[in-house]
């Protein structure tokens, strides 16, 4: 049995809409993510995929349930979540690179500010990361001069500079022009191959199938089905998985 890196127990989350109505987005999600595992989460919009992912580093606070990360219950009281977030890299749909900072500063800000590295060490690390994703020639540019795909590669590198133990990807290619999807997926693929534990919310079915150890199908606030990519894609058991796949795999 491999070691659990992240464990969630019966997560519930709802959002208030216009005061009265509440939208119950997560209805008890219990899941384990092992060290080194690559998990993709697929499912229809509004099914709770992104909310689940954002709960993992507490960008959303679940109402009830537990999240245990590296043996620490981060949903507990008196936990300095900032320390644990340093170990969880996150990549967003809309990149969220810092427009007022140069490419280098985007990467080195957090490691230097949080006392992980000196500026010189961080610069050196940033340059080697940038060359890995083919952005070294852009290191002194501001993000406004980058294309969407370049911004997302920068965002990935920014997260990696903190040397996280897990990477969370929240629809990393959904906001990209089609011709730029490939370059970002290639970077993620290389990362995953190097053994990085990853949780990927995605609509790229082919990609999910190729890189994942396991695929979770989320619908209606629960994990409706979970299994090996081949089983989920070719032999889905749950009727909702079947229906979803029949719509997206034409």
């Amino acid at each position: 049995m491999t070691e659990n890196l992240i464990e969630t127990i019966d997560l519930h989350k709802s959002f208030a809409i216009k005061g009265k109505e509440t939208l119950h987005v997560l209805k008890g999600v219990t899941e384990h993510i092992a060290k080194g595992e690559v998990v993709s989460i697929i499912g229809p919009s509004g099914g709770g995929k992104s909310t689940f992912l954002r709960c993992l580093n507490l960008l959303e606070t679940p109402e009830s349930g537990k999240i245990i990360f590296e043996g620490v219950e981060i949903t507990g009281e008196k936990v300095d979540i900032n320390l644990h977030r340093q170990k969880m890299g996150m990549v967003f749909q809309h990149f969220n690179v810092f427009p007022h900072l140069s490419v280098m500063k985007n990467i080195t800000l957090a490691p230097v500010l949080l006392g992980k590295r000196t500026q010189a060490e961080a610069d050196e690390q940033a340059e080697s990361l940038l060359s890995r994703v083919g952005l070294l020639d852009k290191k002194d540019e501001h993000p406004s001069r980058l294309s969407g795909g370049q911004k997302q590669r920068l965002a990935i590198v920014r997260a990696l500079a903190m040397e996280p133990d897990v990477m969370l990807f929240d629809e990393p290619t959904s906001a990209l022009d089609p011709e730029m999807v490939g370059e970002v997926l290639d970077v993620i693929k290389a990362l995953v191959k190097s053994g990085m534990t990853s949780v990927i919310v995605t609509h790229e079915m082919g990609f999910a199938r190729e890189v994942s150890d396991r695929i979770l199908f989320m619908d209606g606030g629960i994990i409706a089905e979970s299994g090996k990519p081949d089983d989920i894609m070719n032999r889905p058991q749950n009727p909702r998985t079947k229906e979803f796949l029949s719509k997206v795999l034409y």
Binding site: N82, R85, Q86, N96, P99, L113, L114, A155, R158, M162
Partner: protein, 223 residues
């Protein structure tokens, strides 16, 4: 033309009243208002954003009341109330300045609020996801971006204040409009006096807006 020769004559005799006394009082009053207004605006903004409901409500109430009542009324209130509540004697100039500062502070707090809110929420999320705490996120990520939204609006507020100080002439505090009223009283040449102060106000605000424009372009150049 009598009109133009009158203006020349007025300026020859009263230029000190306009250019020395009037302009310096107007600029002094504006600078005080901008400086203390910015400080008060920041305090009001912080008062609205901390997690303490009664303070939030108090600050919101102050801002709404000041924004919803005429400035002249506020100046009257300041003129009559400030000397009564302060334990030491204050000049009319100071009383009016206090009222102007409070008025400006409320508008400035709105400028801060909208400038900070205009920064995309994703920026906060990205910073927090890297492990930065709330204060680091505000100082290193949000404020540097918000400044670009805030400064132009703050510049406009400065220009508005220069014009708004003319209301202080109701209390004869010595700024440009007071100078106009004084000289008009001595010469009975209303149109000429108004032309002179109109031109001075315009020159002041025009120079300021050009300076601010150049400053804004320099900020934008870094984007």
């Amino acid at each position: 033309m009598n009109y133009f020769s009158n203006i020349v004559k007025i300026m020859q005799k009263y230029w000190q009243v306009f250019l020395l006394q009037g302009v310096s009082y107007t600029l002094l009053l504006s600078l005080l208002t901008v400086a203390f207004g910015a400080v008060l605006g920041l305090l009001l903004y912080l008062g609205r954003s901390v997690r303490f409901k009664p303070l939030n409500w108090l600050c919101i109430a102050i801002v709404e009341i000041i924004r919803g009542t005429p400035m002249l009324l506020q100046l009257y209130v300041g003129y009559f109330i400030v000397p009564k509540i302060l334990p030491f004697p204050v000049t009319e100039f100071a009383s009016v300045a206090v009222a102007l500062c409070i008025n400006s502070g409320c508008y400035v707090s709105e400028i801060f609020r909208s400038g900070i809110q205009a920064v995309d929420r994703g920026q906060t999320e990205a910073a927090r996801s890297l492990g930065l705490n709330g204060r680091q996120t505000m100082m290193r990520i949000i404020l540097p971006q918000a400044i670009k939204n805030i400064l132009p609006a703050l510049g406009n507020e400065f220009i508005m204040i220069i014009k708004d100080t003319s209301l202080a002439s109701t209390f004869f505090v010595g700024e440009l409009m007071t100078a106009c009223l004084k000289v008009r009283g001595n010469t009975f040449l209303a149109l000429e006096c108004m032309t002179i102060v109109g031109v001075i106000y315009f020159v002041l605000t025009f120079i300021l807006s050009k300076l601010l424009g150049a400053f804004e372009r320099r900020l934008k150049a870094h984007d």
